[in-house]
């Protein structure tokens, strides 16, 4: 299975291994497969990690539906929608980047990576705006939390502020953890951009691009679950 080994320069008796091929792997295919499987498994652990939060959220939302709906309505769904589109576009640019790397298209690769970064930063910027608005409205759980609002669809019923505080606690933890993963993703893509600039992502070896892309897609998917769960409760009321 050594079809993908590269011979570099004119070596005397052995085929010289691609420097990117680590010593403990027999072939590049094996290294690629291992890296890919490793990233998939890591993403599996991330699913379980966020899963605990989703579980807590779902339970409390079932119990305190009205209060959660009231709290959710204070989020700006338009900003949330924008962020969703931003992330979906960023996943698209990631797909382009992977394609470009696989086909040796340097300009396309650099442009796609840069765009992905831009989209990621845009997402964080919008998130920051949302957080600030929450802070200004005293919706951040803690000593200065205050929440006075009626339950959607029940104009004579005030939402329970303690339950709303649980909503916001979960909101901040879930979106905060997600944002943290975004920041890590941005770091990974800056690194990838550097590698691409130095010409180290080639059709023969672009594993970092592939697994970096997997990670980014995953972070995107988490948001695609977060958005409707957190933002879109009883919007019609």
């Amino acid at each position: 299975m050594s079809d993908s080994q590269i011979t570099v320069a004119t070596s005397v008796h052995e085929e010289v291994r691609n420097p990117a091929l680590l010593h403990h792997f027999a072939t590049e295919q094996q290294q690629r497969d291992a890296s890919s499987l490793g990233m998939w498994i890591f993403l599996g652990t991330e699913v379980m990690f966020f899963g605990g939060l989703f579980c807590a959220y779902l339970i409390y939302r079932l119990w305190y539906f009205g209060d959660f709906a009231a709290a959710a309505q204070t989020l700006n769904s338009w900003l949330g929608m924008t962020n969703t589109i931003v992330l979906i576009c960023s996943s698209l640019t990631v797909v382009f980047a992977v394609y470009a790397a696989q086909h040796g298209k340097r300009t396309m690769l650099l442009a796609s990576l840069a765009l992905t970064l831009l989209f990621g930063l845009a997402f964080l910027g919008i998130k920051g705006m949302e957080y600030r608005e929450k802070f200004e409205n005293h919706h951040v759980p803690g000593a200065s939390f205050s929440f006075v609002k009626t339950v959607p669809g029940h104009p004579d019923e005030m939402a329970n502020p303690r339950h709303a505080e649980i909503y916001f606690a979960l909101y901040f933890i879930m979106t905060g953890l997600h944002a943290l993963h975004m920041i890590v993703g941005i770091g990974i893509f800056i690194w990838l951009l550097t590698m691409a600039w130095k010409g180290r992502l080639t059709p023969e070896y672009n594993t970092p691009m592939e697994i970096g892309g997997l990670y980014w897609h995953f972070v995107d998917i988490i948001w695609i679950y977060l958005f409707p769960l957190l933002y879109l409760i009883d919007l019609h009321k």
Binding site: W63, Y64, H154, D156, E157, M158, N160, R162, H163
Partner: protein, 322 residues
Amino acid sequence: MAGNVDALYIFLLIVTGMMTLLVFTAVIYFAARYRHRRGVPAEQIDGSTHLEITWTVIPFFVFMVIFLWGAVVYFKGRTPPRDSTEVYVVAKQWMWKLEHAEGQREINELHVPMGRDVKLIMTSQDVIHSFFVPAFRMKQDVLPGRYTIAWFHATKPGTYHLFCAEYCGTQHSGMVGDIVVMEPAQYEAWMSGGSTGPLSASGEKIFAELGCATCHRSDTQGRGPNLVGVFGKPVQLEDGRIINADENYVRESILDPGAKVVKGFKPVMPTFQGLVSEEQLNALIAYVKSLSNAGPAGPKTATAPERAPAPGNTGTKGTQVE
């Protein structure tokens, strides 16, 4: 009741004892009999599907028997009989406060008559505790924010250990007490000395003091539902659900009235969170029960506890009635 637990225990001792003997004998025998000897190689035996199936299926059936027996015992233990005498328990770091329906208060001691079913309605003021009486083979965690139920039926007079069995802080091992089981005559004598009147009477006083009667009138003109005959019966809520009016429901309605509004009423009841103590809550619940004059256990409450209150905020969502 304890006898049931012991019977299952002995059965398990026998079964597991036999299993242990079997394994130990086999291991020791084989280890000795097949000790390595020169010129006698080991015989390579890959396996035997027959054997595998046998020793999978047989244990499985034995386990199912144990499961069923255990389930039956458990079910009984979590189903207090109707017309049990009720005792309210409030656990706090690090003591047990008990209040009989007739009003006697005790700390770390519970006097009960023998031969009577006693149902405990328990809550905690702070952290999770657990009410454990080894002699009765009975244990139930006591949670803050909701009620849990346990019951027992003492058959022999005597004094029995009461332990807290869920770690609760510094004096967890000091949270011990006694269950004093008395002959019925002795119990009556003990009861008549020093009581502040039945719990429900104190509840009635609190009901008036806190202004509950203003809205919860005994006619249909009040802004709140008439509470006569409510306890232990199904209640239809404004969102269409039907739940059972048990202890947790009454508690929740006092502490978080917006959670389950009765159909046809507006959500205008103020919350009493922070304004009533656990003991006062117990008294109010006893009072509301007394308004159903079917006694402490209405026709539906006997089934309520085993459907065990779904975990809820300050109370529970009551129990769904099919």
